[in-house]
Amino acid sequence: MSAPIIEIRDVSKTYDASEARPALADFSLEVAPGEALAVLGPSGSGKSTLLNLIAGLDRPSRGSVRVAGTAVHELGEAGLAGYRREQIGMVFQFFNLLDDLTVEDNVLIPAQLAGVSRAEARERANGLLTRLGIARHARAYPGALSGGQRQRVAVARALMNNPPLLLADEPTGALDSASAAEVRELLGALVAEGRTLVLVTHDTALAAQCATRIIELVDGRLARDVRNSPVAVAR
């Protein structure tokens, strides 16, 4: 068995010392390469906290977080920036596209920050936009696109540096049903390619369609951990 790409050991996260209950409590988890993990749970269960800790957007109060051998919890701000450029791609509920940049410019940013040459970055971006079916919108601004199209752009941006780990936080949460179906299909296809995915969602259909493993959090603790045969993979 190959080494886990994510290793979370005894992590607790408390936002306010006076809080009676931590957002995550003594939480441990391993995710294998190629695994598509869906994290389910009610609001306030610690799903987003878990994702933020894996992404290095937040630090654990206690415990360790390692991703692809990198001790994320020990990195400084500059180190975290490098980690986010190279090791992960993120997809957000509200897309988080920069509204005053074109679709292409939004997608180019991670490569440009990583110092990839403009020509190579454009080639990568064009490839991704074509593959995700939004090449004709390359010169458009995000405000002119539908929700599904915007999330495709966000996915393209997340894949720009070909990171080993893709993180998605409620990727269908802000979409209508048709757009949500588009995104589910897209993520399913990525999982089918063998890409490692951590998906935080309320959307059980998305979990069922994309995830190879589903965990459920309740009050910051692991309540359920089951294997799943994703519909998309099966299809």
Binding site: D58, R84, M90, L98, D100, I109, P110
Partner: protein, 795 residues
């Protein structure tokens, strides 16, 4: 209606305003400081403007000033003839005749400051009562004379203090006079006053005292009118009767010179401060409205009317502006004490201050302007639709302009974090333009302030040429030396001249002296500064023309040209005792005095009496010669002749020092305000873009790159401000300085205006960038430190 009911309408609004003021500390600080700068400069400028125009006239009226004071030859006209001049055309009132004498007193033993034996120079002493029909004397220290052996000296010009004594060697019996008081004459009629019965005791045997008359005329508003009045009096008397005369207009110019000089640059700083406060307050309130959209929505959803919202935002501007206005009034009045004190000294008659009404009007006008600037964004806040304001929105969508800028910047061959920063200001062009304007004003202020200080120092150096050289040799023994004071003779001066020439280290020397003479066809006497020997090294700074090269040529300042209606190239005839000496004006020099500088030989035709104690030597030293050692050595050689060599003390001009200090304070205030304006704008931009920053950080933007991106966003602002502000600042310096010089009665030599050399200009151009960068540094650090997860959650 109960208090609680009232609170329902009034209470919440004031609480909202207080919360807005308290929570937005940077905005509050910026608005307070901008208003304070504008009010401080305006109070000072307004106070000095009034100071320079009103008080002389008030003092003139209160002390029944004379339009003309004229001295007549006692040998030529009698008292009856002078009394009859009261009927000359245009004369409405007279005083006199009073007997006058020219004394050459020396310091007596036991004085406060000066050593015994020091000459006090030629002194015109008038015997008269304290009150006349004209030119009432106002005793400022001590008392008026009430017996023999007493004298009152003019306040402000007196070398002696009350209680000091002077000996009069050229009067019979070498009488001693005790200074019993200091008095102010609004028309500067004498160098000292004694009781009329004292005059015979002070008159040298065989001499006849001259006589002084004071006049008021029906028309005396202009120099031409006073000249015509003077001509009417002279025509009623025998030729040569008028020895000298002084017009009140010349005294007024002297009295107002210092304070009037401050006005042009204070007005410049006041206007800059006011414009900047309007711009910055406009952008701050506008930013507060933009940043507070959601807050406005909540207020409206709770039942606030549009008018209450407008008042809330006006209040948030007016409270800090009110604090700034009060601070500005206090600071303006505080600074006015030393500055207007200089003006008071020049007037030596009326104690001045900032009028109370000005302390009210300036802040009220400023606050009205602030309210006007804040009203536009406040009304925008009032008009915002509640549903729009409440709608969750991230960064407000950039306009077409901003998008084009991003598109263009993305193609630049620069790191992406840098190009993202460069394009940021175009997302909010109106705010950016206002910020550029604020930094432009700051850059203008800095450029102007630095140019002003450099020019003033150059002018100061030029003025110090009135006492040229590194060493002066004066016609009295060194204080504390064993040499007994005695009258210096012309032979002593000749011997001293030879000793100076023979002294190792002497590069050049000029024997200088002061004399007085009239100018043919004009009223008044002018001071003549004569130079004997090589004077080229001692030449004063030239405004135009050249330095004189021999007898028959002269240089004069603007005050002389104005007073006598002369021009460079004209020939004027100096007059004294019925003799005339024509001199050609070959150059205009920088000087605040009404004087004529010429070769000593030019005055030969006037046959002026030789007064050895009015002469002194100015010595230029060879490079590397120590003035102190040189003076010590030279004093051994001069001891037998009763003269003393001493290093020329540094020329300290309190007016220039006051101006430098004030310009520095106001420049710093403008810089701080401009910097805070940038800080506020960048902070607003950064806060509005905190979500975008979070996204970029989530995509891998490093803290250092975040700082760089935010700083890059002000690069264009800084460069543009420098490019526009520096030339405007130079233009302002070249406009204001001549106006200041004009107020002081002189012109500025070109060399004193041309202080902006290439390295300085380059530095100032970068200064705009530096100013903008300093302002943006704090928000940039904040942006870099902002936690990514928090930023991403920000809506």
């Amino acid at each position: 209606m109960s208090r609680q009911d009232k609170g329902g309408r009034k209470g919440p609004l004031s609480r909202i305003v207080r919360a807005g003021v308290g929570r937005k500390r940077v905005q509050t600080l910026v608005m307070t400081l901008t208003t304070m700068t504008a009010v401080t400069a305006s109070v000072l400028a307004g106070g000095l403007l009034l100071d320079s125009q009103g008080p002389y006239q008030r003092a003139f009226d209160a002390q029944h000033g004379a339009h003309l004071s004229a001295d007549f030859s006692g040998a030529t006209v009698d008292a009856g003839q002078l009394t009859a001049t009261a009927h000359a055309t245009g004369v409405t009132q007279t005083a006199g005749p009073y007997a006058t004498l020219t004394l050459h007193p020396r310091v007596a033993a036991g004085n406060h400051f000066m050593p015994a034996g020091d000459p006090l120079g030629a002194m015109t002493v008038v015997g008269r009562p304290i009150d006349g029909p004209l030119d009432d004397l106002r005793v400022t220290v001590g008392r008026w004379v009430d017996g023999p052996g007493e004298i009152v000296l003019p306040d402000g010009d007196s070398p002696l203090a009350v209680g000091d004594k002077m000996v009069v060697p050229n009067a019979p019996g070498h009488p001693t006079l005790t200074v019993v008081g200091l008095a102010a004459s609004v028309t500067a009629t004498a160098d000292g006053w004694v009781a009329p019965q004292e005059i015979p005791a002070l008159t040298p045997s065989g001499a006849v005292p001259d006589r002084q008359m004071l006049y008021r005329f029906a028309h005396a508003g202009t120099r031409t009118e006073v000249e015509a009045d003077h001509a009417a009096i002279a025509s009623a008397l025998p030729a040569g009767a008028v020895l000298s005369s002084t017009s009140y207009l010349d005294v007024e110019v002297d009295a107002n010179r210092n304070s009037a000089t401050f006005v042009p640059f204070l007005v410049a700083f006041g206007v800059l401060g006011l414009l900047m406060s309007l711009l910055v307050i406009g952008v701050v309130v506008s930013g507060a409205v933009t940043a507070g959209r959601r807050r406005i929505g909540i207020l409206k959803s709770l039942g606030f009317t549009p008018s209450q919202v407008v008042r809330a935002y006006l209040g948030q501007a007016l409270i800090p502006a009110g604090v700034g206005a009060v601070g500005g009034v206090l600071l303006g009045n505080l600074l006015s004490i030393p500055i207007m004190g200089v003006a008071d000294k020049a007037l030596h008659s009326v104690t001045l201050g900032v009028p109370f009404w000005l302390d009210l009007v300036v802040p009220l006008v400023t606050l009205a302007a602030v309210a006007g600037a804040a009203l536009i964004p406040a009304r925008r806040a009032g008009r915002l639709r509640t549903i729009e304001a409440l709608a969750v929105g991230r960064t407000e969508q950039a306009g077409r302009f901003g998008r084009s800028a991003h598109g263009f910047a993305s193609r630049l061959p620069l790191p992406r974090w840098l190009t993202l920063g460069l394009a940021l200001p175009f997302g909010r062009p109106a705010r950016s333009v206002t910020t550029v304007a604020a930094v432009v004003l700051g850059t203008i202020g800095v450029t102007f302030g630095i140019g002003l200080a450099l020019s003033l120092n150059q002018v100061e150096q030029g003025l110090s040429q009135q006492m040229p050289g590194s060493v002066q040799v004066m016609p009295f023994p060194a204080p504390g030396s064993s040499t007994k004071p005695r009258l210096v003779t012309m032979a002593d001066l000749d011997a001293a001249g030879r000793a100076i020439a023979a002294q190792p280290g002497t590069a050049g020397s000029a024997e200088m002296s002061f004399a007085h003479a009239g100018v043919a066809g004009k009223t008044g006497q002018t001071q003549i500064v004569t130079y004997q020997g090589d004077s080229a090294w001692a030449a004063m700074q030239l405004v135009s023309g050249r330095w004189f090269t021999g007898p028959g040529e002269a240089d004069v300042p603007l005050a002389f040209l104005t007073a006598y209606g002369a021009h460079v190239g004209d020939t004027v005839t100096l007059t004294s005792g019925g003799h005339g000496a024509p001199v050609k004006i070959v150059g205009e020099v920088l000087s605040l005095h009404n004087e004529l500088l010429t070769d000593a030989g030019s005055l030969d035709p006037l046959a002026l009496p030789l007064v050895p104690d009015s002469r002194f030597f100015s010595i230029d030293l060879r490079p590397g010669t120590d003035p102190v050692a040189y003076s010590d050595s030279l004093n051994h050689a001069l001891a037998p002749y009763g003269l003393t060599a001493m290093p020329n003390p540094p020329h300290i001009n309190l007016v220039v020092i006051s101006m430098d200090t004030l310009a520095t304070i106001l420049t710093l205030m403008l810089v701080v305000v401009a910097g805070l304006g940038v800080l506020n704008t960048v902070l607003l931009d950064t806060r509005e873009r905190v979500h975008d920053l979070g996204v970029l950080k989530a995509l891998g933007l490093k803290p250092r790159q975040t700082v760089g991106m935010v700083l890059a966003s002000v690069t264009l602002t800084g460069l543009l401000a420098g490019t526009v502000g520096v030339p405007l600042g130079i233009l302002l310096q070249r406009t204001v300085l001549p106006a200041m010089a004009g107020a002081a009665g002189t012109e500025v030599p070109g060399v004193d205006l041309d202080v902006f050399h290439a390295p300085l200009v380059a530095g100032l151009l970068v200064g705009g960038l530096l100013l903008a960068t300093l302002g943006a540094l704090a928000p940039a650090s904040w942006a870099a430190r902002a936690r990514t997860a928090t930023a991403l959650r920000t809506e």
